[in-house]
C-alpha cells in the first residue's frame, strides 16, 4: 500500500522534470539568500561585540552560512538530475546516486528547520551575554588609558546615542559606577575627597550620567549631573521629568533589536525550508516514476510515483531489519553457500614453466 501514489504519463513526467529543474535553480537562489542572511547576522553581532560578554551566539550565523552553501550545492546537483530525467538513457547515469541524494537532502532540510528554530530560541543566551557585556562596558567606561579598554567609552557613547538608551537596565546604573576617571578628579579638592571617603570601596560615585544619555526630545538643555537633586536645578522635578534622559535601558534596546532581526531571519528560513521540502517531494516522485518506467521497459508508458513504496509502518520495519542485519555482517552463520576450507580438499598441482634458453 504505497504512500501518496500518483500515476504519471510521459508528458506529465517531462513536465515534472522541467518544473523541478526550475524550482531547483530557484532553490539555489534561496541558498544564496540563506548565505547572505547568515553573513548579515554575523556582521550585526560583530558590530556590537564589545558589549557582548561572549560570542557563542555566532554559531547561529555560522550555521546559516554553511546551510546556505550546502543548499546551493545540493540544489545545483538536483537541477542537473532533473534536467537529465527527461531522457531515460541519461537518467541511468544518476540511478545509483539519486536515492542517497534524496536521503541526504531529507536530512539537510531537517538542518534548515533546526536553523530556523534556533533563531527563535536564542533569546535567553543573548540576554545573559548582553547583561554581562554591558555591565563590563560601563565598568570600564573610564579606562580610556588602558590598552584593550580604551575604546569602550566611545562604543558605549555611540551605542547610547544610536539606540536612544541609557545604562544597562536604566539610567540609575550609572549611579553605582565610577565613570569619571581619577585622572580628571582634583584629589586636593575637599568635595572630591569627601565623596571618595564616604564610599566603602573608595569609588567616586555621583548621581550623574554621561552626555550620551541626554535625550534630543527634551525641551530644556540636558541635565546630566545631580539628576536626583531637585534643588540643584531651577524648575526641575526628577520624578516628573520624563524627557530629559533616555528612559530605556540599553539591555532592552539591544535585545529588542537582535530579537527583531532574528525573528525576521527565522521567518524567511522557515519559508525557505517549506520550499526545499516541496522540491524534495517533487524529486522523490520523479525518482520513483522514472525507476518504475525503467522497470516496465517502455519509456513512453505510464508509471506510478510515490513517496514510500509501502506504508509507513512497513517501511520503518524493513529499514530497522536492514540496520539489524548490517550489524550481523561479520558473524559466521549457517549459510550453506559459504565455502569453508577443509583438509580433504585436493591440492591443485602447480605447473612448472620451462623457459627455453637461447643458445
Amino acid at each position: 500500500m504505497a504512500v501518496g501514489k500518483v500515476t504519471f504519463t510521459k508528458a506529465e513526467r517531462d513536465k515534472l522534470a522541467q518544473v523541478l529543474w526550475l524550482l531547483n535553480w530557484i532553490s539555489v537562489v534561496t541558498g544564496v539568500i540563506l548565505f547572505s542572511l547568515g553573513l548579515f547576522l554575523k556582521v550585526e553581532i560583530q558590530k556590537r561585540r564589545e558589549v557582548m560578554s561572549d560570542q557563542d551566539i555566532l554559531y547561529v550565523p555560522h550555521m546559516l552560512i554553511t546551510t546556505g552553501l550546502v543548499a546551493c550545492c545540493i540544489n545545483f546537483l538536483g537541477g542537473k538530475i532533473c534536467y537529465d530525467s527527461v531522457d531515460t538513457t541519461k537518467f541511468l547515469r544518476w540511478k545509483l546516486v539519486i536515492l542517497p541524494y534524496i536521503v541526504c537532502t531529507f536530512f539537510f532540510t531537517f538542518c534548515v528547520l533546526v536553523g530556523a528554530l534556533t533563531c527563535y530560541s536564542i533569546r535567553n543566551q543573548l540576554e545573559e551575554s548582553l547583561f554581562l557585556g554591558l555591565r563590563n562596558a560601563m565598568r570600564y567606561y573610564k579606562d580610556t588609558d588602558m590598552a584593550g579598554r580604551c575604546f569602550l567609552k566611545r562604543s558605549m557613547d555611540l551605542l547610547q546615542i544610536q539606540f536612544q538608551c541609557c545604562g544597562n537596565g536604566g539610567y540609575r546604573d550609572w549611579f553605582h559606577i565610577q565613570w569619571i576617571s581619577n585622572r580628571y578628579l582634583d584629589m586636593t579638592s575637599s568635595t572630591v575627597v569627601d565623596r571618595l571617603r564616604s564610599n566603602v570601596k573608595g569609588k567616586y560615585l555621583m548621581d550623574g550620567v554621561p552626555f550620551s544619555c541626554c535625550s534630543t526630545f527634551s525641551p530644556r538643555p540636558c541635565i546630566q549631573l545631580q539628576v536626583t537633586n531637585n534643588s540643584a536645578h531651577f524648575n526641575y522635578n526628577h520624578q516628573t521629568e520624563q524627557l530629559n534622559l533616555w528612559r530605556r535601558g540599553c539591555h532592552q534596546a539591544l535585545l529588542d533589536h537582535y530579537t527583531g532581526i532574528m525573528q525576521s531571519i527565522g521567518l524567511i528560513v522557515l519559508v525557505i525550508w517549506l520550499f526545499e521540502l516541496l522540491v524534495l517531494t517533487g524529486v522523490r516522485y520523479l525518482q520513483t516514476a522514472m525507476e518504475n518506467v525503467l522497470l516496465l521497459g517502455d519509456p513512453d508508458s505510464e508509471s506510478d510515483g510515490w513517496i514510500l513504496e509501502n506504508s509507513l509502518a512497513e517501511t520503518a520495519r524493513s529499514n530497522f531489519n536492514i540496520i539489524k542485519n548490517l550489524g550481523k555482517c561479520y558473524q559466521v552463520d549457517d549459510d550453506p553457500n559459504i565455502n569453508i576450507p577443509t583438509a580433504t580438499e585436493r591440492e591443485v598441482p602447480s605447473r612448472q614453466v620451462q623457459i627455453p634458453v637461447a643458445s
Binding site: 567609552k153 557613547d157 555611540l158 541626554c214 538643555p221
Partner: protein
Amino acid sequence: MALLKMKFPLQRRVRLAQGLWLLSWLAVLSGAFIFCLGVYLKTELLRRAEVMDNAEIHVVPNILMLVSLASIGTNWFAGRVCQDSLDTTRFPRWKRFLMGWFAVVALLCSLLVTAVVLSYALQGRLEESLKVGLRNGIRFYRDTDVPGRCFQKETIDRLQIQLRCCGNTNYRDWFEVQWISNRYLNFTSKEVKDRVRSNVDGRYLVDGVPFSCCNPESPRPCLQYHLLDNNAHYNYEYQTESLNLYSRGCRQALVDYYMELMNTIGPGVLSVILTQITVAVSLRYLQTAVEGAMALDNPEDDSDGYLLEKNLKETIQDIKTYFLILYMRNKINLESDDADAAEKATAS
C-alpha cells in the same frame, strides 16, 4: 563633401541597427538610474531643509529628474526607430520625427551639462543659504515653547550628532547666543542676575555649548560649561584641548557632505551624456545609411552613411539661407497684410 562619411554594406547596417537597439535600451536604463540619483539627492536636500534658508540648490536634482524622464522617452523612441529601420515599408513614417528628435537630444544633453556645472557653481549659494539657516536654528534653539520653532532644538541636536559638528562656523557660535531659555533660569539667583545685567541686550550668555556638541572620541567625560575657564575643570586647558567637542562647524560639514554627494553623481551624469551622444551619432548614421539604401535601385546594396550631407561650413550656410528665406517670406506676408489694411482704411 559629406562629414565623416562611412560605407555601409547591408550586413553592417543590420549590425548597426541591432547594436543601436541594445544601446538605446542601455540608455533607457541609465536614464532610470539618473532619475534615481536625482530623487536621492532631492531627498537628502529635503532632509536638511530646516537649516537651509532657500531652495535654490534644488534646481540641480529637479533638472536631473526631468531630463532623465525625457531621456527615457527619447531613447525608447530611438529603440523603436531601430526596430523599424531595416524594414523599408515602416521606416519612412519615423523620418519626419528624426530632425526634431536630434534637437530634443541636443537640448537634453546641454541641460545635463548645465546641471553638472550648476552643482559646482551653486556651492557658494548653498553655503550662504546654510549660513543663514543655521544661524536661525541656533538663535531659535531655546524656543521649544514657540509654535513653528519648537522643533529647532531637536533638529539642531540631531544635526550636530549625526554630522559630528558644532555651531555654524565652530563651537564659539554658541557663546554669542542665549541658548538656554528664560523658563529654566532662576532670576532670583545673583549669578543669573549679574550675567544678564552685564550683557547689553539683557541676554544670558554662557561660555557653554549644548550636549550635542560633545565628541564621543574624547578620553574624558564631556565638558560643556565654563569652556574658556581653565580653572573650572581639573587638568584642563582649552587652548590645547581638541577632542572634547566637535571641532568642525556644521556649515562646513553640510557643504562637504553635499559636495561629496554631487561629486559621486557627477561621473554618472557624464557617462549618461556620453551614452546619449553615442546613441544620437549612431542613429544619425543609421538614418542616413538606410535613407541612402532606400534611394538606390537595389535596397540591399551598399550605401553611404554620414553625419552631415555637406561639410560644416556649407551646412551652416544652408541653415542661414533657410532662416533668411523664412524671414523674407514672413516680411513679405506682413507687408502685404499692412498694404491690405491700409487699402481697407482708405476705402472706408
